[in-house]
């Protein structure tokens, strides 16, 4: 009978595994011996088969390519024959504005609205749309023109709100998409749809698909990292959960690794007192050996994922402190990102970290900023959150550009939906609220593969419906994948009897107008 290396118990007894029966029967027995494994595996049998073929490929390639510590390599892209074509962008940074930024007040300029102040928006515009419970009962839907003036900027003469003076400086580098639209009207389904292509939980997110499809460019940091920005309690913060960076049915190796906004970026990353690196290594070797035995017995690929994660954490003990050490940044960095970038967890700090991760070969970084959900007091809150984010966005793009990273880094700025042109609650000359609005919202992209200095798509005079070149969430994600060299129809994974993909079963198309 096999013995675990850490086990000192010497009790001897014969188990099924010691009997002279064919090995495949032993395997079957091992797989069936616990109800938990049985239930777990019946649900996963298809994905399991696909994984098995994946590992099979690895085995064919021999051990030479596996990293020194022996766990399976993370270079999935080679097995999957990816990228499908030479990509313009090798990596991406996604600035996620959770809560739904108001396109009417920021990027979708509607000069005619001023004259329509407090007039009801015509029924013909609103149509038979079902509203949220928050405004469905309203007797009136009065137009709330933006409180802020817009000006034209850049060679392209793009209209940008006074709230975004820094974004205004880079309009010539952006592809601004005014016609993004979604099917979900509430936060959770909408944010899931943006991130995973499905309103229901359980599907892998964009970052996981990229990690699975393209693999890692470095061994010492995760392929997919998530940075959450500190909460500002003045803002209405909708929850952001790890479902958004989950790998769904893909191996948990491909899930996003979050860095905390305050304190240690990764909890328990530093060794406890009395444990030095060598002890840690010995312990990991033993744990890996146990896990390897478990894998041999049960064949569950998640075991490999677990081994890989232990090893990654071990390497991150060195790489993360280096990543988070900003002492060598030149003064020009602070001049660019602003003084708040020195404070861990601010949006500006996260933007700087995103640049540092891009330099260190992190494939996909997602920065979350919560607080864009403004059902009331838009004039009170919107300037605060714009002030928190505007400079960081600009600094990141400008920094990537001056360092020569923007050529092969895709940067995306988006929320999960837009906001209504009509006021939620009372409308006064000085203040108003805005409800969720799925039919149109404004997003932007820049960097590798993106056509710069374009405004794509148009909305009607009320910033309510898309009238030209609509971009669905599916199209949006298909376009992101395209910039990274992936054909969204070909990056699939068999699960529950379907070839699952990020863009889902409804046809999606890459938006050529956004491509360089």
């Amino acid at each position: 009978m096999k013995q675990h290396p850490l086990c000192t118990d010497t009790e001897q007894c014969l188990g099924v595994m010691d009997l002279a029966v064919p090995p495949e029967l032993k395997r079957e027995w091992a797989a069936l011996q616990t109800r938990r494994h049985f239930l777990g595996r019946t649900g996963k049998v298809l994905g399991w088969a696909a994984m098995a073929s994946l590992f099979g490929d690895r085995a064919l390639r021999g051990d030479a390519h596996a990293p020194a510590n022996g766990q399976p390599g993370t270079q999935a892209g080679e097995q999957l024959k990816l990228p499908h074509f030479a990509p313009k962008a090798k990596r991406a940074i996604y600035l996620f504005m959770s809560g739904g930024p108001s396109q009417v007040d920021l990027l979708d300029y509607k000069p005619n609205l001023a004259a329509l102040y407090d007039k009801d928006i015509p029924d013909s515009v609103r149509g038979a749309q079902q509203l949220t419970g928050m405004t469905a009962g309203q007797a009136r839907f009065p137009v709330a023109p933006s409180h802020w003036a817009f000006k034209r900027y850049g060679e392209t003469g793009t209209w940008i709100s006074d709230l975004l003076p820094y974004t205004a400086r880079m309009v010539d580098d952006l592809a601004i998409i005014k016609s993004t639209n979604t099917e979900a009207i509430n936060h959770e389904p909408a944010i899931m749809l943006m991130n995973t292509g499905n309103m229901n939980a359980g599907k892998p997110c964009l970052g996981s698909w990229l990690a699975y499809g393209l693999g890692s460019m470095n061994d010492n940091l995760p392929t997919f990292m998530v940075l959450q920005s500190k909460l500002n309690t003045k803002e209405n913060n909708q929850p952001v959960s790890s479902r958004l960076w989950s790998s769904g049915f893909l191996s948990s190796e491909y899930a996003g690794v979050g860095l905390r906004a305050a304190g240690d970026p990764v909890l328990y990353l530093t060794d406890p007192n009395g444990v030095d690196r060598e002890v840690r290594r010995n312990m990991l070797n033993a744990v890996n050996e146990i896990n390897r035995q478990t894998f041999e017995e049960l064949g569950d690929p998640e075991t490999h994922a677990r081994i890989a994660q232990y090893e990654m954490a071990y390497r991150m003990q060195i790489s993360v402190p280096e990543l988070a050490d900003l002492s060598k940044e030149p003064q020009s960095t602070w001049d660019l990102y602003g003084p708040e970038a020195k404070e861990p967890g601010t949006f500006a700090y996260n933007c700087l970290m995103a640049r540092r991760m891009a330099e260190r070969g992190v494939r996909f970084t997602q920065v979350y900023k919560r607080g864009w959900d403004m059902h009331d007091n838009v004039t009170g809150i919107l300037p605060i959150i714009c002030q928190e984010t505007d400079r960081g966005c600009y600094a990141l793009v400008a920094d990537l550009k001056q360092r020569g990273l923007l050529d092969d880094t895709l940067v995306v700025w988006a929320g999960e939906f837009g906001r209504t042109v009509y006021s939620q609650g009372g409308l006064t000359k000085d203040n108003y609220g805005r409800d969720h609005h799925p039919r149109c919202f404004t997003t932007w992209m820049t960097g590798g593969g993106v056509r710069t200095g374009v405004t794509y798509g148009e909305t009607d005079d009320y910033s309510y419906n898309v009238v030209k070149d609509p971009v669905t969430v599916r199209d949006f994600n298909a376009t992101i994948l395209h910039c990274l060299g992936i054909d969204h129809n070909k990056l699939t994974y068999k699960f529950q009897g379907l070839d699952q993909k990020l863009t889902g079963p409804v046809p999606a198309s890459v938006v050529p107008g956004l491509l360089a």
Partner: protein, 455 residues
């Protein structure tokens, strides 16, 4: 009879001048009628072979062959009327004509040899003639097809790899003095729109436009280009007529020239129709599509075991750009940057024909590596940011004709060291942020956005 066929071209000479309209009217039925003998001729060997199993089919072959011969003569006559009537000349036309004549003769020979074959007197002559006839048919039909659709119709969309395999010459467009405006912009317009009828293969109206000299020489109605005078140039007159005008060019329903193409032609004629001018006043053409063609990268799949061995020994990786080996490899050193120096880089030199991008940012490489890098002939992007290079020896990179991206941010390069980079034409993205050449200053700190146009 064969003799009279052979004499035909000498009796009726194609003189390059259009003749009676009725000839052209009838002649234009040639492309239609010509398919009758083709179909029949292909049928003959089929009937002969299947006659082995069903003798009735072989009996029919005689009739089909005779019919084919008659239709051959018909098509030949119409072809002559077309060429003579419209005044078409050129090697393509003559080839096609001789092909047609040769075909008619071989069909006649088949007809004569067949009775012998049936009697068993001469068993090989007929099958041989039949085979020869099919070859002549194939060649003639191809000549005819090239006349209607243009010479490169069949090969235009052939995969590049296949083209290379069949070694089709002039893969690089034949652009003499490739840097002139004529070679880069005028010749391609004419090639795409005019040369099918005004080229070596077919010479309508005595005009050829496949070279500068021939274009300037003009056709039977005189020159088509009057330098400095687009309004008196026949070429511009014809392409700017209303599309339904009888004399509109390109003729026969082909798509008209694009407005910008007409504008370039006009400007070129206006400014002297020079064969050597490189730029024109007032004409700026974005030449993204005209970047120097990328050097194809060889297939490295055969070297995988060597590559893997190198990777495991070195820690640096060679990542494929895409699933297509011809897109090349990226040398990725991020995991071992601190220990990756000149020696390690030199070890990768044997893979240099496959490496299109070298990520050497923050590695320990020094100026000494420029020697090694100068041999990475397929390099398109080179990252040296944050390294100890100072720019000494930088110009050893000059032979890298594919290099478009060079990142020297955060190094000690000086303005003087990078100035000669201007001579590297392919180099379009050079990054010098935070170097003595381009110090990072507080100028980056932005206080007030600048509104270009106030509301």
């Amino acid at each position: 009879m064969s003799g009279s066929l052979l004499l035909l071209p000498f009796l009726v000479r194609l003189d390059g001048r259009p003749h009676a309209d009725w000839q052209q009217f009838l002649g234009r039925f040639h492309p239609l009628i010509v398919h009758v003998p083709i179909g029949l001729l292909v049928l003959v060997p089929l009937l002969e072979i299947s006659g082995v199993f069903r003798p009735a089919l072989r009996e029919a072959a005689e009739f089909v062959l005779a019919l084919a011969f008659i239709s051959c003569l018909g098509a030949l006559t119409l072809g002559f009327l077309l060429a003579y009537g419209s005044g078409d000349t050129g090697t393509g036309v003559t080839h096609h004509m001789w092909g047609g004549i040769a075909l008619s003769i071989t069909v006649l020979l088949c007809l004569l040899a067949r009775p012998w074959w049936l009697l068993g007197n001469e068993t090989r002559l007929y099958p041989a003639t039949l085979a020869a006839m099919l070859l002549v048919l194939l060649w003639t039909a191809h000549q005819g097809g090239s006349l209607t659709h243009g010479n490169n119709y069949l090969t235009e969309y052939m995969p590049v790899s296949l083209k290379r395999w069949v070694a089709l010459g002039n893969l690089q467009a034949n652009t003499p003095g490739a840097d002139t405006f004529y070679a880069r912009h005028i010749n391609p317009i004419l090639d795409a729109n005019c040369v099918a009828c005004h080229g070596e293969g077919k010479v309508k109206g005595g005009l050829r436009m496949d070279s500068y000299e021939l274009l300037m020489k003009g056709g039977k109605d005189g020159p088509v280009i009057v330098s400095g005078h687009p309004e008196r140039s026949l070429l511009l007159e014809r392409v700017t007529l209303p599309a339904d005008h009888k004399q509109f060019m390109p003729a026969e329903g082909r798509p008209p020239l694009k407005p910008e193409e007409i504008a370039w032609l006009k400007a070129w004629v206006q400014q002297g129709a020079s064969p050597t001018a490189t730029t024109l006043k007032g004409i700026f053409i974005q030449e993204n599509a005209k970047e120097a063609p990328l050097k194809p990268v060889g297939d490295y799949s055969g070297m995988m075991s060597e590559i893997l061995q190198m990777e495991s020994g070195q820690g640096a990786k060679l990542l494929p750009v895409s699933s297509k080996p011809s897109d090349g490899l990226i040398l990725n050193t991020v995991d071992v940057a601190a220990s990756f120096g000149d020696v390690q880089l030199a070890q990768f030199q044997k893979f240099s024909p496959y490496i299109v991008e070298a990520e050497l940012g923050r590695t320990a490489v020094t100026n000494a590596s420029f020697d090694t890098l100068s041999k990475f002939s397929h390099l398109r992007a080179l990252h040296l940011e944050g390294t100890a290079v100072t720019g000494e020896g930088l110009m050893k990179l000059a032979p890298l004709s594919q290099l478009t991206y060079l990142n020297l941010s955060g190094t000690k390069v000086t303005a003087a060291a990078v100035a000669p980079l201007d001579s590297m034409k392919s180099l379009r993205h050079v990054y010098l942020y935070n170097t003595p050449a381009q110090p990072a200053t507080a100028a980056d700190s932005i206080t007030q956005p600048i509104a270009k146009t106030a509301q």
